[in-house]
Symmetry: C2
Subunit: 155 residues, 2 copies
């Protein structure tokens, strides 16, 4: 274990500074992704909204662009209120292609969710793709600046 | 006219360097947008592909992610070959929210296209939203790193 740590440290020290910064940003974005998954699994709107930038924009299919954190929050609350008694049975997110440039980054994700609905309705089982643009705030935290979602291909 | 030029120059000189750079990037991206519109209007796949980064990814609805410029080109050629005799009657793009950070930028666009089809078929009239992530190459040109499209809301 100690040998592994020393090796990791040596690899890290051998990297040019730019690569070290990019590596750190990627690790931070992976942490962001885990927080996003956890918030979605809990259907925790407060935790989800903490991951959005104030000037964030969400682009959903067949929906007017939702511009600004306040509008996104209102949209999420309206969805939640229509889904009383619903429970996220499963939420999986596989993100790839993290690209970082300074305080901006992008990644794209394959998403699968199964939502258990109330009143004996059949569960919602949906698969989609997401494109995210993230920005690191002055506090060092990555937040969603742009999000777009569309439907995945049939299995 | 001369007064206007002097005024513009004075405003430019009064800007902090960072703002000048961001202003220049925004102007470059507006040029990129005009080139994109022109290439789409002409249905000119060669000109469109010049606007893509080698490691670009396109995310279209109900379609597997198209990864890399070669795959995107093959996809576009397959679409074109299925649309023999088609002509772009109208292609409009309204882009907003340009955000630049160093060599990376993002914007989102509202798109409307009317494609005249051959064999007396009714024209295709579609409206969508696009989310773009652009990267400036070593040659100073902005190219598409990520593109996602989804359907716009009903009118």
């Amino acid at each position: 274990m100690r040998k592994l740590l020393v090796c990791s440290l040596l690899i890290w020290m051998a990297m040019p500074l730019g690569a070290q910064v990019a590596e750190r940003s990627r690790a931070e974005i992976e942490t962001f992704n885990r927080q996003f998954v956890e918030a979605m699994r809990q259907m925790d709107n407060i935790a989800i909204m903490e991951l959005w930038a104030d000037d964030g924009i969400s682009l959903l299919p067949a929906t007017k662009p939702i511009v600004g954190k306040a509008a996104i929050q209102a949209f999420m609350e309206s969805v939640t209120s229509q889904l009383k008694g619903a429970r996220m049975e499963r939420f999986e997110l596989q993100c790839s292609g993290i690209e970082v440039n300074g305080e901006m980054a992008t990644e794209w994700c394959v998403e699968h969710q199964v939502v258990h609905l109330a009143d004996g309705k059949p569960p919602f089982d949906g698969r989609g793709h997401m494109l995210l643009v993230l920005r690191r705030g002055a506090d060092g935290k990555w937040r969603i600046l742009r999000e777009m979602w569309n439907q995945a291909e049939a299995e």
